[in-house]
């Protein structure tokens, strides 16, 4: 099962996890990115490249399935404007054994950071700013190649 979604609606984590668990797997690993409440960011805006984004996420899911023995993969990315505490991204994997689920989940979020065309803009009290990529993201993604 591969589920990929790019949607302005809030991410329904329960629905995604249930879909992964229904596959009869022994283990489900997930990572959820949440808009942080700490550094004065009131809202986050996610822009993306329609068409290419979905293709990039499908390619990522297929690469994970080719590399690990998985029963399910879900990648859900929210777009548009969201506020502190809301979910930005959800990746989840289901496998017979925990190592495959854990490793493939880490792979998906590391690679998603560099391989999918999304851009974040932060809304602060004083205005907005485009988020710069984090220095470690390229290295984290490169670990898997």
């Amino acid at each position: 099962m591969i589920r990929v979604s790019v949607d302005p609606a809030p991410i329904a984590l329960g629905v995604e996890v249930a879909a992964l668990e229904e596959g009869g797997a022994g283990g489900v690993a997930t990572f959820t990115g949440v808009v942080r409440t700490d550094d004065g960011v009131e809202a986050l805006e996610l822009e993306h490249y329609p068409g290419m984004t979905e293709a990039a996420l499908c390619a990522l899911a297929e690469a994970a399935v080719a590399r690990w023995n998985l029963l399910g993969v879900s990648i859900v990315h929210r777009v548009g404007r969201m506020t502190a505490g809301e979910r930005i991204v959800f990746v989840g994997t289901a496998a017979a054994h925990r190592r495959e689920a854990l490793d493939s989940c880490a792979y998906l979020i590391d690679r998603l950071k560099t391989d999918a065309p999304f851009w974040k803009r932060e809304w602060l009290a004083g205005g907005t700013r485009w988020v710069e990529p984090r220095a470690g993201d390229e290295e984290a993604a490169a670990v898997w190649s």
Binding site: V89, K113, A116, W119, W130, V131
Partner: protein, 85 residues
């Protein structure tokens, strides 16, 4: 035969549009050449493309390096490094 240009994030903001049709001359053969040629179109283009090292690109919805050849491209996107997830 023209090209569809797409711009995202602060590149889109500086250019002042998310999409435009362009018809580069024969001599423009790579993404880098296209960026240089587009810089002359307006002050906004010039501002968006002033620092090519800060730019990334896709040809027909696949990431490519800036020295990638355009041959046969129908859609070229220029944008900052991605920051999703």
């Amino acid at each position: 035969m023209g090209l569809t240009m797409l711009y995202f994030a602060w590149v889109r903001e500086r250019v002042g549009a998310g999409e435009e049709r362009v018809d580069p001359p024969e001599g423009v053969q790579t993404v880098a050449g296209l960026i240089e040629w587009l810089s002359a179109r307006s002050d906004g283009h010039a501002a968006a493309f002033a620092a090519p090292s800060r730019l990334r690109a896709a040809i027909d919805q696949r990431f490519v390096p800036l020295d990638a050849a355009l041959n046969g491209a129908r859609e070229v996107a220029i944008f900052p490094p991605v920051t999703g997830g």
